[in-house]
């Protein structure tokens, strides 16, 4: 993945020898067993049917994909599931933008901090990972609920507002939960790029008369682009499929695609349809990935 986004192409320069292959074997086996095989199973299931008990019946059908893309009553393009997809993309997109706006300056600050302090700052970014994200999400519920910490602080102590404020179980809470969970995934790759950035190039830009905006736009941004692209992918993709946070903090009133897929497997006994929805996401990811890496290559050339 790293090779495709950012790091200059090295293939062709050296083919891996026997030792190289041997060292790669665990990784390749892991990929084959836990990425390629499950995806293939999903692909096969997505064209299958199901019986009364929800067991997969191996009989070919397009029905699952038709259900995703077409309205069952009118037969026209557009369905509930596309609406759900669109909403999930909206949530994921908003999360990514906020993470970028908040995370980039943080990454920049850490990357430019004195060397001794950098590790401390990075540790601070990573400390939340020491606790399970589910527990951290439940902590947010405690903070945001009507009788929660924030509301009782605002109402009882500061008397800023008279009535508790409705925060939990709203779209805003969902985005907050997603940003909170995925922010480090943006900070870390951007930090990697910022740290590698040669400061003399920035100085040169200033010496040649560029203002701060221009130096940022023409020098800093292109040089940190690999980190930004990696960060965007690392935030956008998991937040699109996330179901636990959206359900816990959104109350499940506006289902996201992750929740709908989960339902197919756990409640509706419809694995083939769940698989078809999953494959659609895989396809979407492939498109996003292809677009970003193409843009990346174009920029490098």
């Amino acid at each position: 993945m790293q090779a495709a986004i950012g790091v200059p192409e090295t293939s062709g320069s050296r083919r891996p020898g026997l030792l190289g292959w041997l060292l790669m074997t665990p990784m390749l086996l892991w990929l084959a067993a836990f990425v390629i095989a499950p995806t293939l199973i999903l692909l096969v299931y997505s064209f299958c049917q199901r019986d009364d008990l929800g067991q997969v019946v191996y009989a070919f059908t397009w029905e699952n994909y038709e259900r995703i893309f077409f309205d069952p009553d009118t037969g026209k393009f557009g369905s509930t599931y596309l609406t759900v997809f669109l909403r999930s993309i909206l949530y994921a997109g908003l999360t990514t933008v906020i993470c970028l706006v908040v995370g980039y300056p943080v990454a920049w600050f850490i990357g430019r901090a004195p060397e001794g302090r950098r590790n401390l700052l990075l540790t601070l970014v990573m400390i939340p990972f020491w606790t399970s994200f589910l527990i951290r999400t439940y902590a947010w519920i405690t903070i945001l609920s009507t009788n929660g910490l924030l509301n009782s602080f605002l109402v009882d102590y500061t008397r800023l507002i008279a009535e508790p404020f409705e925060m939990l179980y709203t779209p805003g809470a969902v985005v907050l939960g997603l940003v909170y969970s995925y922010l480090p995934f943006l900070i870390l790759p951007v930090y990697g790029s910022v740290e590698k950035l040669d400061n003399s190039l920035v100085e040169a830009a200033f010496d040649l008369g560029a203002g701060p905006v221009r130096a940022f736009q023409k020098v800093i941004l292109p040089l940190t682009q690999p980190g930004i692209v990696a960060g965007i992918l690392l935030v956008f993709i998991p937040s699109l499929g996330m179901f636990a946070i959206t359900q816990l903090m959104g109350g499940g009133t506006e289902p996201t695609i992750g929740e709908v897929i989960q339902n197919q497997f756990l409640q509706a006994r419809d694995w083939p349809f769940g698989a078809a929805l999953g494959m659609t996401i895989v396809l979407l990811f492939a498109v996003v990935f292809w677009c970003t890496s193409r843009r990346q290559n174009a920029l490098e050339n």
Binding site: L18, L22, D52, L53, G54, Q55, T80, T83, V84, R87, I141, T142, S145, T146, N147, G148, P164, L168, Y169, Q247, G251, G252, T253, E254, P255, V260, N263, Q264, F265, L266, Q267, A268, R269, D270, W271, F273
Partner: protein, 347 residues
């Protein structure tokens, strides 16, 4: 050369592994049960008494259990299906008939919970806990009387309601208000439920099957349609949370224990069933999960406070109905509810 030697070593290691496993083999029981339903104290007590080690695996819905069991390749000895799943498993011949000679404590079970329609001869299942789905009212906030689903969704409690995130439950409630049985899910009847749900669902603030009590406790909602066990815990914490069985009719579920076909340790599973049927063990379950205990002898041992809990032991003559397996209709219900939830935003 070095690689060959490495491969030989690896091969030896791989062949040695199974023997190692067998050498350590002792009496085990592979229990596949709901998460948060079998207290650890019960499992420890069983191991202490019989020396049988219990391997626990959890599931979060009947459907999850069903699909894992039907997929095969598993070696579960004991599962914990609800009544309609027992029925489905009997239908496809996936349950072992129980040997009741090994389960003498079955005599403790109240006869009204035995030989129910999902297992008419009482051959395959033993009831674990019985519960209902009803309405919890925060009486500190809601002053008008609530007697049924219609009162919950009369429009005055908009966005103050938590309901189970379970399509079949939700559809059942809507159908109850027009007098249709929970098991009569024909397309025509679902069509009847549609306008009702289109009115109801936008009023819901939270969908939560795992812990609907949280939203009620935190004050985020004032009303809930939840499992009776959740309601019982709320009442235990604060008496302002009352439990009402809807006048239109309520869903009663019977979570049972059953042994899957071909279970490797059937005798151990029967020993476990017999163990949990002891009154003094059964009360431990009631302590943690205050559903209705079908064990008549255990109920006698409960504290008066536990027996007075209106959610665990409802009084009066409520209209109750158990679920039957609905097969393919599970999909139609999911489509209906997903559609309506998504449609909410379109307006």
């Amino acid at each position: 050369m070095k690689t060959t030697r490495l491969l030989v070593a690896l091969a030896l290691l791989v062949t040695a592994l199974p023997t190692y496993g067998q050498a350590k083999k002792k009496q085990v029981l592979n229990l596949f049960c709901w998460s948060e339903y079998v207290p650890q104290s019960v499992i420890d007590g069983f191991t202490k008494e019989t020396g049988i080690k219990v391997n626990v695996e959890n599931y979060a819905s009947n459907e999850e259990m069903l699909s894992k069991l039907l997929a095969g390749g598993s070696n579960y000895d004991l599962v914990q299906p609800s009544e309609y799943t027992v029925e489905a498993l009997i239908k496809v011949d996936k349950l072992e008939p129980l040997n009741f000679e090994a389960i003498p404590n079955i005599k403790n079970i109240d006869p009204k919970y035995m030989k129910l329609p999902f297992d008419p001869e009482g051959k395959y299942s033993v009831p674990w806990m019985v519960g209902t789905v009803g309405i919890v009212v925060n009486t500190a906030k809601v002053k008008t009387p609530i007697t049924g689903y219609k009162d919950v969704f009369d429009g005055t409690h908009k966005r103050r309601i938590v309901v189970l995130n379970d399509a079949r439950e939700i559809v059942t409630w809507a159908l109850a208000t027009v007098g249709v049985s929970a098991n009569d899910l024909t397309p025509e009847n679902l069509e009847k439920a549609k306008p009702i749900l289109a009115n109801w669902l936008p009023q819901v603030k939270v969908y939560d099957s795992d812990s609907p009590k949280t939203a009620l406790l935190n004050g985020d909602v004032d009303l809930g349609i939840v499992w009776s066990g959740e309601a019982a815990i709320l009442w235990k914490k604060n008496k302002k949370f009352t439990y009402v069985l809807p006048a239109e009719g309520a869903h009663q579920f019977i979570d049972s224990l059953a042994i899957p076909k071909g279970a490797p340790n059937k005798e151990n599973a029967e020993k476990f069933i017999n163990y949990i049927l002891k009154p003094e063990v059964s009360v431990l379950v009631s302590e943690d999960f205050p559903y209705t205990n079908p064990n008549a002898e255990a109920v006698k041992l409960l504290k008066p406070e536990q027996r007075a809990n209106p959610a665990s032991y409802p009084t009066g003559e409520p209209k109750l109905e158990t679920f039957k397996d609905i097969g393919k209709a599970a999909k139609d219900i999911d489509v209906l509810v997903t559609d309506l939830k998504a449609a909410k935003k379109k307006k």
